[in-house]
């Protein structure tokens, strides 16, 4: 089975901190995604990557950046965390139409 592993299950960070969320997949998938999930808003795409060093903005990229230096790893970076970035963050990877999600990172910014 494809595994998508997010390094942290829960994180608490202070306003203004630089935050790194890490995601690793083990099935050589081309595509990787970062979503945030908020009550009543569903999942919203922040960024996705279709190859190493390639990235595309999603629907809500403001305040975020990403890094994909290796095929298996896709990092989400909050340059200066703010309280409105408190959310559940979900990483996913896909090979054409097989999309697999990680368990999520619940980030709280205080």
């Amino acid at each position: 089975d494809v595994k998508v592993t997010q390094s942290s299950r829960y994180l608490v960070k202070r306003t203004g901190e630089k935050v790194f969320l890490e995601c690793v997949q083990d099935m050589d998938h081309e595509n990787m995604f970062w979503y945030r999930q908020d009550p009543g808003l569903g999942l919203r795409l922040i960024y996705f990557s279709y190859d190493v060093k390639m990235k595309e903005k999603g629907d809500i990229p403001e305040g975020y950046s990403v890094s994909r230096e290796k095929k298996e790893r896709f990092s989400l970076i909050l340059e200066s965390a703010s309280t409105n970035q408190t959310s559940m963050y979900l990483c996913a990877s896909s090979d054409r139409l097989e999309v697999t999600f990680g368990s999520g990172t619940r980030l709280t910014v205080v």
Binding site: G40, Y50, F101
Partner: protein, 114 residues
């Protein structure tokens, strides 16, 4: 424009009764469609998918969905609800074969009472 609408934000059923979760999409293409389930504090798990083969798709845990092109719908059903089915369900549409153009519905919370 492409869109996905889950028609109910919350559905409540009794254990042993049928489940119907509704999803409509808008697209000028023939998309691929998925249903995912998310249990509390867990990631999303694929229930089933439609990718232009049989229009009635069977998934895990007794769920199935029927693709109806004329109605642009992909409703999820289960004949008999179980307590463990209580979760949030997402209808997802892929608008390209690469799987990079995914649109999520806003989710339907299913509650099951005994």
């Amino acid at each position: 424009a492409q869109s996905v609408t889950q028609l109910d934000s919350h559905v409540s059923v009794s254990e042993g009764t049928p489940v119907l979760l509704r999803c409509n999409y808008s697209s000028s293409y023939s998309p691929s469609l998925f249903w995912y389930v998310q249990h509390p504090n867990k990631g999303l798990q694929l229930l089933l998918k439609y990718t232009s083969a049989a229009t009635l798709v069977k998934g895990i845990n007794g769920f199935e969905a029927e693709f109806k092109k004329s109605e642009t719908s992909f409703h999820l059903t289960k004949p008999s609800a179980h307590m463990s089915d209580a979760a949030e369900y997402f209808c997802v549409v892929a608008f390209n074969q690469a799987g990079t153009a995914l649109i999520f519905g806003k989710g339907t919370t299913l509650s099951v009472s005994s």
